[in-house]
Symmetry: C2
Subunit: 382 residues, 2 copies
Amino acid sequence: MAGAVNAGIKDGTGQRLDLGILLSTKTCVAAGVFTTNKVKAAPVLLSRERLKRGAIRAIVMNSGCANACTGKQGLLDASEMTELAGKNMGIKKEEVIIASTGVIGRMLPMERIRAALPKIMFSAAGGHDLARAIMTTDKVPKEVAVKTDYFTIGGILKGAGMIHPDLATMLCFLTTDAAVEPGFLRLALKDAATVSFNMLSIDGDSSTNDTVILMANGVVGGETIRMGSHKAKVFQQALEKVCIYLAREAARDGEGATKLVEVRVSGAISLHDAQVAARTIVSSSLVKTAMYGADPNWGRILAAAGRSGAALEADKTELFMGDTCVAKDGVGVKFNEAAVVEYLKGKEVNIRLNLHLGKAEAMAWGCDMSEEYIKTNTEYTT
Amino acid sequence: MAGAVNAGIKDGTGQRLDLGILLSTKTCVAAGVFTTNKVKAAPVLLSRERLKRGAIRAIVMNSGCANACTGKQGLLDASEMTELAGKNMGIKKEEVIIASTGVIGRMLPMERIRAALPKIMFSAAGGHDLARAIMTTDKVPKEVAVKTDYFTIGGILKGAGMIHPDLATMLCFLTTDAAVEPGFLRLALKDAATVSFNMLSIDGDSSTNDTVILMANGVVGGETIRMGSHKAKVFQQALEKVCIYLAREAARDGEGATKLVEVRVSGAISLHDAQVAARTIVSSSLVKTAMYGADPNWGRILAAAGRSGAALEADKTELFMGDTCVAKDGVGVKFNEAAVVEYLKGKEVNIRLNLHLGKAEAMAWGCDMSEEYIKTNTEYTT
């Protein structure tokens, strides 16, 4: 169940949802993946600590204020928020974790939060509101659910600053009615994040507030899912499907984005090399601006791969834009430029780079970079 | 001596200088620093090889075409260019090195180059034209000379894509009339590059074409400068002054830049930590867009430092914009926001971050990021 209200954190108008709660009817086994940034926001510090116990019931969340760089007061505020949320639901604060997103370096407006938290109402359909309540510069809410023969996995996500994802907070909350063994749940989430959210990012999860939480309450019944079982495989696949869908939608909704850019690097010596090359290409400002201009400037793509750190021999590389080969053996080939320009004008662009060195491959997602990105980020606080 | 002509490489109009030669009246001891990108342009491969011999007379250079990702033909073209340039000057091609900048993945228009190279005329004042001939998206030429009691060091530089310096080719050519021992020359250049050009960059020098060359012809006379001598110290200081000046000018002239941003990180545990933190801050798109909007959004600066990899304890950090402390012990302090906004509207912004962990410090230079950056990079080839 979930619910959200406007607490006036985002703005004073009372128009936009900015405070919400995700609540499980039963105590959940839970796992989390948090930012690797050395500057960690108060909600991250608090949630990480409480997740160590492994059993939670609810997540309280807000947008409009990140509660980061707020020192001891920030930690007190985060703790109070979980306590107030717990009171509303009749559960202990230790069963509540927390996530925040918004401007860094501002204190939470606790008076408004104290007034608004008791007003949150819960319903099974409340997830749609919750997906809206965590939006910052996102243009659309991101939601998905995948149903398998055995269980359902659902998720919501915010995170629109995907042009430079390394500083944009990504919040993602995943729920399932499956009964899952806690150790497997943690590994499953880590593996799913590696091929999805981490492939949106330059340095891994690195804003002050990045948080991905997976809650499993087991209400669907049946045996607990353990590592190595058939159901574990189904679970892993469904979870990756959910995470990749949300990651792609986040890329598509990037700040100032006009299109989704998908990069597949194959023929790498190692998975790490494939990942780092794909991420570097998709993160390059020069590649992004070329994609915005529908400019088949493929040299920028090879140059990005070349500086990524991945093992690469320039004269073995082969590059495709959509189905068109634009470079082979590291050198440009003749191609129908008008057709490629037309292709690049689409809403979804696929770039494929084959390094022809090994067998590893990886995919990364991003978006193009337009003037809108500058406008969005130029006056975020003032 | 130097000279430049329009060869029609940059455009067909014959209006802009794009091909030039830097010529020493005597054979030079020379040192070079090249891109670390695994995709290296033909002129880089050729020049690096020839510099191993250590004695050169001239550098031929062009803008408008990077001669990168051009395979064997690119190497043949680069070699032919040095041969044609050598013929013009009456010297062997082995004494000529080469540098190119511009679009990646296109072949050099050799017909035009063959026609234009013999037309280059040399003069002692030709450096001004040469500084213009290597410009791509630069708005102004970058030139400097420092005269000491013993010798003079001069330099020209191009490199305007400093918003994302990692993909923008930087070419820099330094000359001195000092007589310098080759081993010391190489070390002096490496050290000077570390505190200047490398502090403009995310990953070190990493476009396909980045090249810094230092030529010393010794015509001023006197004893050869060797490591550890008084003159060596004077030489190192003068060289760093030249390189830092050119690096700052490159930052100021960044694509779409409206101001120079200087970041000093102090109190770091190691020099490496100070450098990586300063570079990460100055490279952050979110910091850059905030600077463009004169937005004192200091949380973005701490967050960039936090993800940089440098050792950092959030609650020890202290941050200044100009002379105003905006955060202490990792938490925002009250400050005159209107005054800081006014300060950030200036043409030069200083950000100082003290980590309060150790004694190392470093400076990095960059610029803000405006809509102009997107416009400049959106249609570079088409």
